[in-house]
Symmetry: C2
Subunit: 188 residues, 2 copies
């Protein structure tokens, strides 16, 4: 009998990423993920529809974190300042202690074209959510779409640097560096 485990979803996520990295996604079964997490398969299916979904199941929560940051920016903030507020809200998803786990997850995704595409769609979803929040602030298109996507460019560039070996800085500092570079682009 398996006793009730606190944070079963989190344990399942960590177990899945570990097994995907060790054996590959194809060779990893739901049974193996559940076993390593110390729960039953039934518990697995209470949280996730399939093994790949474990890598993306926090997608809605993730996107709304960024969108809420945009929405809650001061009314006088420029579109880019509102996007910067969105990135500041979203980066709370990636505290220092998640860096090693994020590296393993990124390596799993990089090894699997289908997962790469799903990851790109996830980030496109974050851009869409931020663009919608900008429209709610009265920003017209194409500015709203461009501002949101430019924010994802800054986030993606900072994220790759954050995961790179030898990079000591944390994500907030790398995002700030990217935003400064973005604001300086029009200067010769």
């Amino acid at each position: 009998m398996v006793r009730w485990e606190p944070d079963a979803a989190g344990r399942l996520r960590r177990a899945a990423v570990e097994l995907f990295a060790e054996r590959g996604v194809e060779a990893t079964t739901v049974a193996a993920i559940a076993e390593r997490a110390g729960v039953t398969e039934r518990t697995f299916f209470r949280y996730f529809t399939d093994k790949r979904e474990v890598l993306f199941s926090d997608q809605g929560q993730f996107a709304s974190l960024f969108a809420t940051g945009v929405r809650d920016a001061p009314p006088a903030a420029s579109p880019l300042d509102a996007v910067a507020a969105g990135l500041r809200a979203g980066q709370s998803f990636f505290p220092a202690e998640r860096r090693d786990g994020a590296r393993v997850r990124a390596a799993v995704i990089a090894a699997n074209p289908g997962l790469q595409e799903r990851e790109l769609l996830k980030m496109a979803g974050v851009a869409d959510a931020m663009a919608a929040a900008l429209r709610d602030r009265g920003v017209a298109d194409p500015a709203a779409t461009i501002a949101a996507r430019v924010g994802i460019v800054v986030l993606g560039t900072a994220f790759v640097d954050w995961l790179a070996a030898g990079e000591a800085r944390e994500l907030p500092e790398l995002i700030d560096e990217g935003l400064r570079a973005l604001r300086a682009l029009t200067l010769a």
Copy 2:
């Protein structure tokens, strides 16, 4: 006997996109593409390694068009002005008469996840080529990477609008609109 055809590669490209749109990519054979283009299969394989490559075979030429535009921008141009010059050079790939063909190609790609991914990689390749050209101009990272990717955001947003039903403006005007919106992002 098949006589020599001028622009066999162009005819094969158009034939392939038509057939992909009519029958789907899976159901289209190289033999059918060659037949519609009025050439032999042997001629097909002189230009392309497989049927999917027909959609992406101009990738290197496409990326270098943008990179050359960045490289040839005036020395005093800001990173964003150099990227704008790259987009101006690259948009020559999409004259008004290519709009309908581009619509059909986009629909084929949208219907096929594998092709979507290849298209994303193609655009990432253009960003990489522009970023390298910016580095050659003395722009450091992350500014070079961010400037190039931001250019691709403007291009991609303009391109989707260009292909949308009812959009009368041509691509250069839509790109200019995107660049103006980008430059205005920091204004409240």
